[in-house]
């Protein structure tokens, strides 16, 4: 299993990634933990394609509903665009990262869609996104709503798969705190996606600020996770996003959160004054 993962890793990576892997490999050998240690980076790598697909689907929901397009015999069109964008994934992720709002609030995140438009109109990606948009625009309003709902369900499945993997690897991983942060960040993406699924069940038209918020913030959060993979930010940078989304969920969708068994003040008596 591990050998297969290592081979996949090499196959899927650029030269720089292979160099990085060599370092990790060396680290395992030096620490004598080759058989027991799983690095967060390897987990992210094994799900890199899924992660990028989820990110693209948040950015352009039609990408997340290949199953629906297959019924219309248009899946080959979307696959072609995904493949083309995958080749530019690092550039795209960084462009989205740079467009992320400095301050964390509902308002600042709803405005992020305007900045996303600029990226989508960037000559580097413009043609691909135009063709993707065309596929969406060709659908009638009811089909568009169904597609958003279907994409939400597909992203939800992707996130569940990644979270399951993270959960099983928590004990063995060499960087446990990062793995915990990663699992919690994915759960926050899932909160937004479940919000999207519930919203699309209710809405009759898609021109809705709330749906846009769910999708845009998912894209921002997923781009941040991808940026960790590309060594552009560190894991701690996710703490404020996790706090914002959990707080937002607590206010808007408290039923998404598990009720702690002992919900009383005693849970917080342990909170020290250190920050």
């Amino acid at each position: 299993m591990k050998i297969r993962k290592i081979l996949d890793f090499i196959k899927d990576s650029y030269t720089s990634k292979v160099e990085r892997f060599k370092k990790i490999f060396q680290k395992y050998i030096n620490s004598g933990k080759m058989n027991t240690t799983i690095d967060t980076e390897m987990v992210l790598n094994s799900f890199l394609n899924t992660l990028f697909d989820a990110f693209l689907a948040s950015l352009k929901p039609v990408v997340g509903s290949i199953d629906l397009l297959r019924k219309k015999h248009k899946d080959y069109l979307i696959n072609k665009e995904i493949e083309a964008l995958s080749k530019k994934k690092e550039k795209l992720v960084m462009a989205i990262m740079n467009a992320s709002p400095e301050e964390i609030s509902y308002e600042s995140y709803t405005k992020v869609s305007e900045k996303f438009k600029e990226i989508i109109e960037n000559p580097e990606f413009e043609e691909n996104f135009k063709r993707i948009d065309k596929l969406f625009q060709d659908l009638n309003p009811e089909e568009q709503i169904n597609l958003l709902n279907n994409t939400g369900k597909n992203i939800h499945k992707m996130i569940l798969e990644i979270r399951d993997d993270i959960s099983t690897k928590l004990i063995e991983t060499s960087d446990k705190e990062n793995m915990l942060i990663l699992g919690q960040a994915f759960r926050c993406v899932d909160f937004l996606i479940r919000d999207l699924i519930e919203s699309t069940k209710r809405k009759k038209h898609i021109d809705d600020e709330h749906i846009s918020f769910c999708l845009n913030y998912s894209a921002v959060l997923l781009s941040k996770i991808l940026a960790i993979y590309f060594n552009k930010i560190n894991y701690d940078a996710l703490y404020s996003d996790i706090a914002f989304i959990t707080f937002y969920t607590h206010i808007n969708n408290p039923h998404f959160l598990n009720e702690p068994k002992e919900v009383d003040d005693s849970l917080f008596t342990i909170l020290g004054a250190e920050i």
């Binding site: 027991t36 400095e102 301050e103 964390i104 609030s105 509902y106 308002e107 600042s108 405005k111 979270r163 993270i166 959960s167 099983t168 928590l170 004990i171 063995e172 446990k176 705190e177 915990l180 942060i181 699992g183 919690q184 759960r187 926050c188 703490y239 404020s240 996790i242 706090a243 914002f244 959990t246 707080f247 969920t249 607590h250 206010i251 959160l257 598990n258 009720e259 702690p260 068994k261 919900v263 003040d265 005693s266 849970l267 917080f268 008596t269 342990i270 909170l271 020290g272 004054a273 250190e274 920050i275």
Partner: protein, 237 residues
């Protein structure tokens, strides 16, 4: 009049064992004016809970990694857990209470060696729980307004920032919170008491206020930094 509190006070309210607990609660109960809180201050308190719980989880997971294959797993786990607790207790800013909480939650599943469930709890618990801190503040006093760092407020904050660039705050977040409150005061023409438990933070803010008063453009900023003390609480009677 309006007042605001920093994250130490929110944490002080949430934590019964915090030395600021009593004072923080009295503050909220005795101030009769409007309470406004910065969203970023609430989020800082939420993040603190998440970070500390994760630190405790890392300790527990490391012990599990060492002991899960052992025949007498529970015994080995217990003994290593006790050693870790002892190590933590010796640290000035320790997370012993978080260790106790996390352990209490996973203990039944450890006995059954249900590691999948243990992992699930450690992953999910902080984000299921931490946002409830907000409710604890609201149970004492209604939060009349949450200040969002919106574009207009950010622009005002950015225009104030150069004036205080030479003042060294211990934490960059403290500087940002203070600047946002100054921007809020300027934009809304509100007099605002900003109450904290950190004496050095108060001194930094007073220095900033002195510099702002000398500047024509910002002399209308009316943020009044206050240190939460017993004398201050007594003065509220």
């Amino acid at each position: 009049m309006t007042f605001s509190i920093d994250s130490c006070i929110i944490i002080g309210i949430a934590n019964k064992e915090d030395c600021q607990n009593d004072r923080s609660k009295k503050l909220l109960l005795r101030r009769k004016d409007k309470l406004v809180i910065l969203l970023t201050v609430i989020l800082e308190a939420v993040s603190t809970y998440d970070k500390k719980f994760n630190r405790a989880s890392v300790i527990i997971l490391s012990i599990l990694e060492k002991t899960k294959e052992f025949e007498k797993f529970n015994k080995e786990f217990e003994s290593l857990m006790e050693k870790e607790r002892e190590k933590e207790r010796k640290k000035e800013k320790n997370i012993v209470n978080f260790l106790r909480l996390a352990y209490g939650m996973i203990e039944p599943h450890l006995r059954n060696e249900n590691f999948k469930k243990v992992n699930q709890i450690l992953l999910d618990h902080p984000i299921d729980t931490s946002p409830r801190i907000w409710g604890m503040v609201e149970s004492l006093k209604e939060i009349k307004e949450v200040i969002f760092p919106e574009e207009k407020l950010r622009a005002t904050k950015n225009s104030i920032e150069p004036i205080i660039s030479n003042i060294n705050f211990r934490k960059s977040k403290d500087r940002q919170h203070f600047l946002f409150l100054c921007a809020y005061s300027l934009d809304t023409s509100n007099d605002l008491d900003y109450i904290t438990t950190d004496g050095r933070y108060v001194l930094n803010m007073l220095e900033c206020m002195y510099l702002m008063k000398k500047n024509k453009k910002f002399k209308n900023i009316r943020v009044n930094p206050i240190l939460l003390t017993d004398n201050y609480i007594a003065s509220l009677n």
